[in-house]
């Protein structure tokens, strides 16, 4: 698997989440994703970006265009140095929320992606990595 291109964006405020949505939209279109898949990628980026801002107190996202044999994909890795998630399993449950949201951010995004990985350490931060393949 090779990375064709990568870019790292700061995600500290809700305006950064809007910018992230725009960048993900243009990358997804360039990769030839269908309109529905573009929308899923942008929506997932929006959910995870908001988590980084709201729960992680800001962080970064690394976007990568991937090439794996005959398929292409978009990988997004969100990283924050926030308080971390004490119970990742619980955080992945539909409807569970510690914030003001609906508790669909993590669990819903997982359904929108081909791959979903989460690693969190209390007091150190959280990393969420998602991939959607074409």
């Amino acid at each position: 698997m090779t990375t064709l291109r990568d870019e790292t964006l700061e995600v500290r405020a809700s305006a950064d989440v809007v910018r992230l949505r725009q960048v993900v939209r243009s990358w997804a279109a360039e990769l030839g994703f269908s309109l529905v898949d573009q929308t899923k990628l942008v929506t997932g980026a929006s959910e995870l970006g908001r988590n980084t801002v709201e729960h992680g107190h800001g962080g970064q996202v690394r976007l990568e265009m991937l090439n794996d044999d005959n398929r292409r994909g978009l990988r997004m890795t969100f990283e924050d140095q926030g308080p971390g998630i004490p119970d990742v399993h619980l955080a992945l449950t539909d409807g569970y929320s510690t914030g003001a949201g609906l508790g669909l951010g993590l669990s819903g995004t997982r359904r929108l992606m081909s791959e979903f990985r989460i690693h969190s350490e209390v007091g150190k931060g959280t990393q969420v990595q998602v991939v959607r393949w074409r």
Partner: protein, 134 residues
């Protein structure tokens, strides 16, 4: 701060969202709309999202909140123009917008609102007549 404009057409408030909303802008719209319903005594709210390319859980919650608040203020809300890719993504995300009426476009949404508002006033009038007789 920028604001989403709210137009008044008779007793219906029309909101056309044409920008990629950041979270504060969505919250401001929620506040502005409730204030305007109360101020104008509007009976209906029509929200046109045909130009919106992404509805994530935050925006979805804002729409559901507007509908709930409007209902308490005696106004009906109809959401119109959702793009198919947005609808598919929303359902997969797990957001089904319970309690929010929808229509395919502004024309149908307006017809639906007019019918609802009329039938609501008719039943109110009918009840008033009963009261005077009894």
């Amino acid at each position: 701060m920028e604001r989403i404009p709210i137009l008044k057409m008779g007793d219906v408030l029309l909101v056309t969202i044409q920008v990629d909303m950041h979270d504060q802008l969505a919250l401001a719209l929620q506040d502005d709309l409730t204030a305007k319903i109360s101020h104008t005594g509007a009976r209906g709210v029509l929200i046109d999202i045909s130009a919106v390319e992404v509805v994530d859980s935050f925006i979805g919650r804002m729409i559901a909140n507007i509908a709930a608040m409007a209902r308490i203020l005696d106004a009906q809300t109809v959401l119109v123009g959702m793009q198919p890719a947005v609808a598919i993504t929303l359902v997969e995300l797990g957001l089904t917008l319970p309690g929010v009426r929808t229509a395919l476009n502004v024309e149908r949404g307006m017809a639906l609102l007019r019918a609802e508002v009329e039938s609501a006033s008719r039943s109110l009038l009918g009840k008033a007549d009963d009261d005077t007789q009894g």
